[in-house]
């Protein structure tokens, strides 16, 4: 290949890299939000259909050591469990995550296994509980629970079957959000597959794309920023507006004082 060809190919590779990063960033910053809303609606619907006082959904963290509550119904006067972290070898959610088996308990308060401290810290102690694993590709990815069936002392086998359907929906939603979360990597994989079908024509491109696996420090920062924007966006409308104002003000300030933080230095 001549010098010109190499240059134009490296330009294509650079463009592709930028595009992949952009896809990954938008995936992280926007798409998971849609799924949190979906999960929230699944949990809300489950609580209504079961006539339960509360419902929640916790996900197994990447290292498999803890569960984090991702969404929950709002119980008046009770602190939300969202964001709370519990070790996987404790409590009812832990048991369900570790065994992949659902369980119904009708006198949780007398049950030593139930994490009493955790319940006290949230100010809500349920009487009955039904917990169901969320399974994706034969793997437990989380646990969904419904608490305190109204007008019934306990959850039965038919409730278990019904909750299994909700859990399946939630597992699909989570599965999809995790794909979006790695949208850039998914597209890269697709491009590599395509390029590998014509190794003669796209051999160089394939090599360059393989080199681009993993992100540079700078790219990582952009992805972190996307995560941060996503987190703040999810806090609420006021926070979202504040984020926009603060960020634009910071940009304008930087533009007005070139050189202060490195901007405009050559």
């Amino acid at each position: 290949m001549n010098q010109e060809g190499v240059e134009s190919e490296s330009a294509i590779v650079n463009q592709l890299k930028r595009l992949l990063l952009a896809i990954e960033v938008s995936g992280r910053a926007i798409l998971p939000g849609t799924n949190d809303q979906l999960l929230q609606s699944i949990v809300d619907a489950a609580a209504r259909i079961f006539g339960a006082t509360a419902a929640s959904l916790a996900l197994v963290e990447k290292d498999g050591q803890n569960l984090v509550f991702r969404v929950a119904t709002t119980v008046p006067g009770v602190e939300s469990v969202v964001g709370m972290r519990v070790p996987i070898d404790r409590g009812i959610v832990g048991y369900v995550a570790m065994t992949g088996q659902p369980i119904a308990i009708s006198n949780v308060r007398e049950d030593a296994r139930f994490n009493q401290d955790f319940a006290r810290s949230t100010g809500y102690m349920p009487q009955s509980i039904l917990a169901m694993p969320l399974i994706s590709n034969d793997r437990v990815i989380g646990v969904m629970e419904v608490l305190d069936k109204i007008n019934a002392p306990t959850f039965g086998l038919m409730d278990m079957e019904l909750l299994a359907i909700f859990a399946q929906q939630a597992a699909i939603a989570i599965d999809q959000s995790q794909h979006f979360d790695q949208l850039g990597r998914a597209v890269l994989l697709g491009l590599q597959t395509l390029a590998s079908q014509e190794p003669g024509q796209y051999g160089h491109l394939l090599g360059a794309l393989q080199d681009s696996q993993g992100y540079s420090e700078q790219d990582q920062e952009i992805l972190e920023l996307a995560d941060l924007f996503y987190d703040i966006r999810m806090l609420g409308e006021a926070e979202r507006r504040m984020l926009l104002q603060v960020t634009s003000a910071f940009r304008d300030y930087c533009r007005s004082r070139p050189g202060q933080f490195g901007f405009g230095r050559i």
Binding site: M98, T99, D138
Partner: protein, 278 residues
């Protein structure tokens, strides 16, 4: 919308409206609970509970826990498990103690062994179940209660081999099906006694289902069970139906030590509450 209560498909066969009367004939018609386990306490029979552990000093177990092991997931080991002896077994959740308590309430003199297969590493679950089963077979356990299952198809062959080994070693494997109708191994093999829950409360009342794979139904709804820290709880799930059958199998084995797993299945069939001598 139908006013019929919904039940998980596996338990459906044992609902009052679906329950069939099954006729027995020939010599099987003469087998009854009195012949099968009358006067038996399960004495001398070794029963293993593959689960979250067993709280050995729980009062509901009457001091019958004779030992146990912890099966750890370890990729470096040949079968990917490392077996650690546990002289005074403990339970990390309570589920295994619940199963052991049910077995002990039916077969008070059966010897109980804890095989703990649950650990923090979730990916090793099926391999740990298999390791636990293998340990039981190598240690002359006669009745194995497995209230856990996996739906990972890649372990189909492994569990098939282990359940065949169990049959050839004359160990009866009693397994709970999952609470929702997905394939669950090893509960769906023919030599395994596969159990789902029915709504009854009497521990000796169990039903036969002529449409396998789930052949027996035993109590599993709102069962008062032993739990960790010498406590008790009320719980629901097919998990609690299996140990009822394990307890009865221990009684049968103690009284008729030479019966093989399929013969025991036949005895259970003859003694089920929905079978009638024709």
């Amino acid at each position: 919308m139908s006013s019929e209560p919904l039940r998980p498909a596996w338990s459906q066969s044992f609902s009052p409206e679906a329950l069939q009367i099954v006729m027995t004939s020939g010599p099987i018609a003469h087998i009854n609970p009195e012949w099968a386990w009358g006067g038996s306490t399960g004495a001398g029979v070794r029963v293993a509970i593959i689960d979250s552990g067993v709280e050995a000093d729980h009062p509901a177990l009457g001091g019958m826990v004779r030992g146990g092991v912890i099966v750890n997931y370890d990729e470096q080991e040949p079968n990917k498990v490392r077996i650690e002896p546990e002289e005074q077994p403990v339970d990390i959740f309570g589920h295994g103690t619940a199963c052991a308590g049910i077995i002990h309430s039916l077969a008070p003199e059966a010897e109980l062994y804890s095989i703990r297969v649950l650990g923090r590493d979730l990916k090793g679950r099926a391999v740990q179940f298999a390791g636990g089963l293998r340990w039981a077979l190598e240690n002359q356990i006669q009745v194995i209660n497995l209230s856990l299952s996996t739906n990972r198809e890649e372990y189909y062959a492994l569990f098939h081999q282990l359940t065949d080994d169990a049959y050839f070693k004359n160990a009866t494997l009693v397994s709970a099906v999952n609470n929702y109708p997905v394939p669950s191994y090893p509960s769906l093999y023919s030599s395994v006694i596969s159990v789902a829950a029915h709504e009854g409360k009497d521990p000796f009342t169990f039903f036969y289902n002529p449409s396998p794979p789930v052949e027996f139904g035993a109590p599993g709804i709102d069962v008062k069970v032993a739990w960790i820290d010498k406590g008790y709880t009320t719980s629901t799930g097919n998990s609690f139906a299996a140990p009822h059958i394990s307890g009865i199998v221990a009684l049968i084995r103690a009284k008729h030590p030479t019966l093989t797993p399929f013969q025991i299945k036949t005895v259970l069939f003859a003694c089920a509450s929905n079978t009638q001598a024709g």
